[in-house]
């Protein structure tokens, strides 16, 4: 099956910021994303866990979006404008997709 190279961006970020990030992605013309729950984590800001939490403040989520390479810089710029002072981690990797027109 013929596949086409795209970029997969994975963003682990504080839950209260999620709405703003997806709004920014939409503005940048990103066509889709997927949000995955996060149970727990550890980083410079210490340990945290979702268990027993009633608010969203100490909660994180993982957002995954597959975009075309030409859009990568615009997306990263938009995302970092938001998350640079927030708690979170952004990684980029190479993936292949079958239906390139979707991204």
């Amino acid at each position: 099956m013929q596949t086409f190279p795209k970029k997969r961006i994975e963003i682990v970020v504080e839950a209260p910021l999620l709405r703003r990030i997806t709004a920014r992605l939409a503005e940048t013309g990103v066509g889709g994303w997927t949000v995955v729950p996060v149970l727990a984590g550890h980083g410079q800001h210490g340990d945290w866990t979702a268990e027993g939490q009633i608010g969203t403040a100490s909660q994180m989520v993982m957002l995954i979006t597959v975009v075309d390479a030409v859009r990568l810089d615009a997306v990263l710029d938009g995302v970092f404008a938001l998350v640079s002072r927030q708690i979170g981690v952004v990684t980029v990797s190479d993936v292949a997709v079958v239906r390139p027109e979707r991204f």
């Binding site: 209260p16 800001h45 866990t49 027993g52 939490q53 009633i54 100490s58």
Partner: protein, 324 residues
């Protein structure tokens, strides 16, 4: 008062909180899933809002309502200024972190509200249903005050975050919507609704509260274990003294208004409580440079246990003196 304190300490609610705290500190794997914690909080806010509304439908609203609302809003605006001054004077917190902590202490903790009404019900002390509306009104002003302080002191404005959007979000945050919504529904449906929902919302309340406080104990215990490094003596002292200052201010206002004993106890407890649902989320958006663990450790790890174990019986006793 010592009897009241002892009875409080030996109530199942407080003991389940202590159990959770102990389990977390002993690193037990006892956990309450996030979805369950949210269900319990939803239930408790719904129950307390509805009961408040049904009470208003039954007894009506007396002239003190407007005065009490004004007092609540005033407390919520003024406390952060005081808190900020104390923090900057006695601790090493920088302006931004001090402003963030001050917002937490100016606002209120819905969970502490639930706890004080649980204790009052157990003691058979009536409180006015509209105190639920007062609680809702006290949530937001503190955030505004803290942002004004932070902007004034740090000179910076929050990039890309419109104040209007933020306040709208805080005003419509889930816990306020369910609390106020259930209050209105209780007020509209009155006795008929209250009869229908009594087994679920009233009879089961103390049991659900126990389960919820077990969870709060676990969360507070984990927070304490994680956030110990932020607990310098000065900062810890603030988390215990600030509620007492809030209590005294609220007691004075309640006395001036002429509130009933139960409502005085509720107003005092609200003023003495520190937010950990609405304000922490708002601060992540408005003051992202602030370290969220500092305010949360203080609010959930020190002030909430203090209020639950010592504060609430103290505030009820104080309310008794004021209204004697």
């Amino acid at each position: 008062m010592f009897e009241l304190a002892l009875q409080n300490l030996l109530s199942p609610m407080v003991l389940f909180f202590v159990l959770g705290l102990a389990a977390a500190l002993a690193r037990s794997d006892l956990t309450v899933p996030e979805a369950v914690a949210k269900l319990l909080a939803l239930y408790l806010l719904m129950a307390i809002g509805f009961k408040g509304g049904a009470e208003v439908a039954h007894h009506g609203v007396d002239g003190t309502l407007v005065a009490t609302l004004a007092a609540g809003i005033l407390l919520s605006f003024a406390t952060p200024v005081l808190a900020y001054a104390i923090l900057r004077g006695t601790t090493r917190l920088d302006p931004v972190n001090a402003a963030a902590v001050a917002a937490h202490y100016g606002s209120i903790s819905a969970v502490t509200l639930v706890a004080v009404t649980g204790v009052l019900t157990q003691l058979g002390i009536a409180w006015d249903g509209y105190m639920v509306a007062v609680a809702a009104a006290m949530e937001t002003p503190a955030i505004v005050a803290a942002l004004l302080i932070a902007r004034g002191r740090s000179g910076g404005d929050e990039p890309g975050e419109s104040r209007g959007a933020l306040l709208r979000e805080v005003a419509f945050n889930g816990s306020i919507v369910i609390l106020v919504g259930a209050f209105l529904i209780g007020a509209v449906t009155g006795a008929r609704g209250a009869g229908l929902l009594k087994p679920f919302l009233v009879d089961a309340f103390p049991g659900v509260l126990c389960l919820f406080l077990l969870d709060m104990g676990l969360v507070a215990g984990r927070g304490l274990a994680q956030g110990r490094r932020y607990l310098s003596p000065a900062v810890t002292g603030f988390a215990i003294v600030m509620p007492l200052i809030g209590a005294v201010l609220a007691g004075g206002l309640a006395w001036a208004i002429g509130l009933s004993k139960g409502s005085t106890a509720v107003l005092i407890t609200l003023a003495a409580s520190a937010s950990y649902i609405a304000v922490p989320a708002a601060m992540r958006l408005a003051l992202p440079q602030a370290n969220p663990a500092v305010a949360l450790t203080l609010s959930l790890g020190v002030t909430f246990p203090f209020n639950l174990l010592v504060g609430i019986p103290l505030y009820i006793a104080l309310a008794g003196r004021i209204t004697a």
